[in-house]
Subunit: 385 residues, 5 copies
Amino acid sequence: MAQRKVRDLRKLLAARARKRAARGAVGAPPSALHVPEQASQTAVQLLRYSSAGITSYKADDPGFWDESDELRWIDISGLSDAEQIAKIGQKLELHPLTIADLFHTGQRPKTEIAPKYIQIVLKMPVGGPPFEADQLTLILGQNFVLSIREHERDCLAPVRARLDDGSGRIRSSSAYLTYALIDTVIDTYFPLLESYGDVTEELEERILTKPQTGSVRVIHLLKRELLELRRALWPQREAVNALLRDDVPFFDDTLTTYLRDCSDHSFQLMDMVEVYREVSQGLVDLHLSSLSNRMNEVMKVLTIIATLFIPMTFIAGVYGMNFDRASPWNLPELSWRFGYLYALGLMATSSAIMLFIFWKLGWIFSGGDDNYRYGKPSDPPQKPE
Amino acid sequence: MAQRKVRDLRKLLAARARKRAARGAVGAPPSALHVPEQASQTAVQLLRYSSAGITSYKADDPGFWDESDELRWIDISGLSDAEQIAKIGQKLELHPLTIADLFHTGQRPKTEIAPKYIQIVLKMPVGGPPFEADQLTLILGQNFVLSIREHERDCLAPVRARLDDGSGRIRSSSAYLTYALIDTVIDTYFPLLESYGDVTEELEERILTKPQTGSVRVIHLLKRELLELRRALWPQREAVNALLRDDVPFFDDTLTTYLRDCSDHSFQLMDMVEVYREVSQGLVDLHLSSLSNRMNEVMKVLTIIATLFIPMTFIAGVYGMNFDRASPWNLPELSWRFGYLYALGLMATSSAIMLFIFWKLGWIFSGGDDNYRYGKPSDPPQKPE
Amino acid sequence: MAQRKVRDLRKLLAARARKRAARGAVGAPPSALHVPEQASQTAVQLLRYSSAGITSYKADDPGFWDESDELRWIDISGLSDAEQIAKIGQKLELHPLTIADLFHTGQRPKTEIAPKYIQIVLKMPVGGPPFEADQLTLILGQNFVLSIREHERDCLAPVRARLDDGSGRIRSSSAYLTYALIDTVIDTYFPLLESYGDVTEELEERILTKPQTGSVRVIHLLKRELLELRRALWPQREAVNALLRDDVPFFDDTLTTYLRDCSDHSFQLMDMVEVYREVSQGLVDLHLSSLSNRMNEVMKVLTIIATLFIPMTFIAGVYGMNFDRASPWNLPELSWRFGYLYALGLMATSSAIMLFIFWKLGWIFSGGDDNYRYGKPSDPPQKPE
Amino acid sequence: MAQRKVRDLRKLLAARARKRAARGAVGAPPSALHVPEQASQTAVQLLRYSSAGITSYKADDPGFWDESDELRWIDISGLSDAEQIAKIGQKLELHPLTIADLFHTGQRPKTEIAPKYIQIVLKMPVGGPPFEADQLTLILGQNFVLSIREHERDCLAPVRARLDDGSGRIRSSSAYLTYALIDTVIDTYFPLLESYGDVTEELEERILTKPQTGSVRVIHLLKRELLELRRALWPQREAVNALLRDDVPFFDDTLTTYLRDCSDHSFQLMDMVEVYREVSQGLVDLHLSSLSNRMNEVMKVLTIIATLFIPMTFIAGVYGMNFDRASPWNLPELSWRFGYLYALGLMATSSAIMLFIFWKLGWIFSGGDDNYRYGKPSDPPQKPE
Amino acid sequence: MAQRKVRDLRKLLAARARKRAARGAVGAPPSALHVPEQASQTAVQLLRYSSAGITSYKADDPGFWDESDELRWIDISGLSDAEQIAKIGQKLELHPLTIADLFHTGQRPKTEIAPKYIQIVLKMPVGGPPFEADQLTLILGQNFVLSIREHERDCLAPVRARLDDGSGRIRSSSAYLTYALIDTVIDTYFPLLESYGDVTEELEERILTKPQTGSVRVIHLLKRELLELRRALWPQREAVNALLRDDVPFFDDTLTTYLRDCSDHSFQLMDMVEVYREVSQGLVDLHLSSLSNRMNEVMKVLTIIATLFIPMTFIAGVYGMNFDRASPWNLPELSWRFGYLYALGLMATSSAIMLFIFWKLGWIFSGGDDNYRYGKPSDPPQKPE
């Protein structure tokens, strides 16, 4: 079992280590394209949509780029085909640095406002716990949205369904679609965080009701996960807030209301992470205190047993001495008629004295002084008068 | 007893867990209405009031919406009937997102200023400790106040009484009524926090006068509660302060004075929470130190007993050996006339030496060096000269 | 002794608890007057002064309110007579909320700037340590100062003496008098903080030179006091700084120089509190470390004694066995001429080996490795070249 | 082995100590040139380049300074030849303080904007871990870049290669070259930090799977390194951001895009350092907890053995007493036919009782309660619906 | 030795306590002059200088105050003669509060900008470690500098030498002289901090290579010193930065460059203090961990010895029992021919089993698992590619 645990841990740490790879050689020109080592196969989905309907194009269909009043959504997953991605980037007139940035996985979430488009980098959780996130880059232009994900797996299916369905404002503008994508990414964190909340509370209950040796590792892993979540969420919040500033193009006043909703959710997520972090730090204290407590218990048992029997053993030792009984001064007790009973009585007395001392010190029969209850009956709930 | 404690704890944690549920599906359209799973039965109270008097309307009385110079207060408790609530929201010309927000329980307190109304989300404590809070959303428009609560229970009875009574400025404007509601919610935290203060101080006194094993759990639960309180109060303070900015509609200068009073109270609440948090953190240190201390005491007792008796037992063992007494070199003491007394004397001497060493080390008879008093007589109270 | 200590502690905590009472019922109208439960008897002192001289009036002398070029100082102590205080407040044209605020003891220090007057709430230390503070509210108007204290006791006698004396600028304006009062309140904290500094340093010296069991309680109480001081001083500093802003009425440029002096003192006080807080936190670490250290010492003594005697006792036990001596293979040592000496030698050898091992491990005769001195001779004091 | 470790540590600390030397005498005139004690031999590389090509000049070739449209790069390594460096500085019309600053190694990274040039001080990592950094000062003027390094070793080779190659914008302006140098320095931190990440994760895995005595030293050294990294990176981030402000000369809008990329990387580096720091702090807790845990285990073993055998030894002692068997009341068991078996049975019973108690207390056969798994099967991964 | 240590400590703490005395009575008029109790003898040095040369005047020479184009430097040490100092202050037209401030030793460093002069309060380190600082007040007017020090000792000799020498800009303006004085004070902290750095690193090395009991006291004293340094340096940095603001008189643009250099140094000092503080906090953790570790070692030794010998002693006890050998069931082993060897074999077996268990648990012969090396050969230094 412990063996399996170690294996799990190794896998977890290895998965995280794998994440840290995508970065060009030191000193390379800034606009050089660096395909990450374990990049997935590139797959391109082209959509043109208007309030009238949606048309899907093939990846190599040049008709997609024809002039039109329709809005475009280019959805790319997998970064292996640098050439194709760069070509699409050039068609959308992206800055070479922006194109290079698409391949840098492991970035912090950010919002970059270029003259003709907005680049938004997000972390999209995929499954979990344990928390794992792919990078999602959104490029919002006048009449297009480009979304690029590290891998095929994503959490955006509901948005595609709403776009197919066409109800609501989803087909009204590229900016609204961008909002819908951001909102969905952020909302995906809620069930994830709630399951961390469950883990935290289960741990808390276990430690409060039955402290355990192994828990501290689990607390450590939990803290580690929360640290990673915080690292993803903190800049994500800033990235969303950056869209709320006055001078951001594409997002008009009616959309700002929606974005503010997104920003509220980001704050709430950070709040949750911070609370769980603080609780899990408190659990470390609780665990250390319970270890210390248990040591106290162990030591008390040892001390009680030892101090009970050591004097008795000593008495037995004394009457086991071989002094010459010819002298009346040597070990006269041995010749007494009730010498044995006297010795046993002596032993019983020493034990009784010891037990009395322990009882006085409150080490035994102290009857669980633990019955101090939080919010006890003598504190009736406060009611507004 | 411990069993009951665990049960209490489970209930407490379960109650908190239940709170985290109200949130739409990931990726759902932002204005979709999501009724929380355990929503209470919706009850609507309609009031029209002016300085002249108050009229109460039935929930389905269309006359309530007739044009009039009177001010309106729509008070809703329970979120089960989404349709009815949405209809009222539409009558008040609320933004669809605002209507959807009414159903998201578990939000952070916030103030949202829309062109035609102000939305204020608060956490209203109900009973306690343990701290439990329902969400209260206030929508303040030109001539109406809409208040929506998660459940029937609330702490706003005094405001309704003042409105019935009609004295003071309470019927003068919707903004004043809103202020009165906010003020009451904030003031409700004072008795709650004071009872936490009592718990903190009782714990402090107990740990200072008689350290106990179980206290660390109670400290943990206390810290947890204070964390939840802080989580509610911190954004609430910001929400109130947001109403103090210059460009907030409805709140004129005379009301700002009242709101600043509210804001002062919020600061004071945060202050109290922070002090209790810091004290309870200090209690953890104190508790750990007292555990460590107690261990020292236990170890000293064991060490004293063991080191007293081990040499004596050894001496008894030596004179219990069976060496052949034919040789004059073997155990000659056994043949001495006063051999037994000599052995007992040897034992007494070794004990005396040990006791002397322990006394020198200050382990016994040290007479409680604990008499260092804080603010001792040699430090006369400082008086301004 | 310990008993007395506990009694002291209870009194201290009770005194602090008593402080938290003055607050109106939840939901009461904001301008309702709430007299604190244990309010002192109200005493009013009326003074009219100008550079020419001072006139003292009776509390009910209507002549005091006659128009005049003279400045007025109304000094009230004790809050029991709400009616009289309210009447004075109305005469000075205070806002009803300001009047109600006079009765809310336990506020945070603050500065409130109304159109026609400035309200300053301060915490005035009375005696101590332990730190106890009464609330002092100052209302500064065009030609009056109103000062209201919770109780008769105060620290403002030197200001009254200076006003009687009439030297300096003290009679020049109401604002200067207000400054003098604030300055005196702030300066009263210096001897108080210095006596906490003495306590901190005495504790530090005691723990460094002779660690004690009970100290951790004293540290806790000290930290608690410093927490209360910080809670009073932090907002007080803000309250003073608020008077330094450009748009504050009554305080002209010449007075700003004086106020900046006050503000410097506030900063210095905060500095002292923070240093003492950090030192006392360090003392907790030091104390825990010394407890841990002492445990090490105890354990070493036990281990040395036990490991010295246990092998010797074992040897004695072996030669106390009763194997049948008929067989030459059974316990032949018992028949040796020098068997007893051999056994004693065996015991001595085992002890010697053990002592050698302990000496190697550095547990005994290690000669106090504590002689590492801070700023040792080999580090000559650095001199600027 | 331990010996080697100590030697390594000494070398590490000595290397760091050596770093702290370069600073003029206290009170010396600010523009006095102070050559660091262990300065390397000065070597000067002069380059003139334009889009057309690159010309390399000898250090003493006066032709280099002829007027020309070409851009200049003066690259100096080693600070021993103060005169030559000062002469070059004067040719470039640097302020005397700027020239003196070139010799102050051990500065914080900073950006100083003079009227005619920008001075940028960076820390350039060389090799590692352990982290060691040389100071790199860049002076950017209208048509020149001056780069000065403490030692010959540097990490800028890729930039020189790109300049030789001439592709991209690298020869377009002095500001772009400066950007390329800064970018390369910052990127050099990534592999360094990643190897610290590897160390952190390896430590984490070791401590989680097999806690060790010596790890705490390694954690301390790791924390120390991360502290040094943070000390270098934090001001470096500010130095880069200072170049992003509006009023910085030489850096036009197109370059700002590149610099923002640099700034993003700096943020990301700080992020990594902070995460590693927090993880390594968590490892200290984990380690202490595992030490405490191990102590518990040791104590349990001692307690179990001692409490098993002490009662049995006592029984053996009792039946080893020499009471006079003439009296039927003395030790009658000794004469029983099955006395020995009875005694052995008594011993076995006492052991059994003890083992039963230990089993009840959960000290033995508790079967590893450590099987609580994080993200256990009963918690299926949350999927967006 | 320990005795001497305690004496040193007492002296150190007493010296610090002496520092806290200079402050007027509570409630005294703000411009009252309060001579500190242990003020040194006042000594006045009057200098008139211009680029042409320097003239020194006697303290009572009225000619010094004659009108002249020359600049004046009035240097006062010792505060005992309040009258003389006040007279000089009045001649320089200082505000009464500024004059009173000269006597308040123990202020925080600050910069106060009066209409006609600038007052700068600094902490000037004198000797050390231990850190001791005198207060230095600089008053910079149009054509004079007034410097006032608590005691004769100072660190400004190099500036006087430069003034005598006359080279550089030192005689060019009062502001430059002021800058030179500030710069020298700040630079004096560098060797001081470096010697604290040495102490920190020596401590670190000692604790890492050979943990010691007494170190925690030294760490505490070090932390205390660093706290005092921080308390002096933090506001000093602000005081210097205050001179960099746009509206500061006397300091023109050319001087600002010099002041910015000063400010950089202040930042660097704070940086060093923060790093040393964090390292010394880490040392506390390290020390506690090594104490805990050592306890583990002690307990293991005790446990091993006890568990080895306790079973053997028990066996010896069994065969020391006196059961009646007439019954064949009683202690038959005693009659065996090789009974003694059998008993010794039994003992050896029990020891062997115990040793095997300890070896399995990794308590003995575990061969120092401490050989985990930081930056081990398998991690080749990362090189930029």
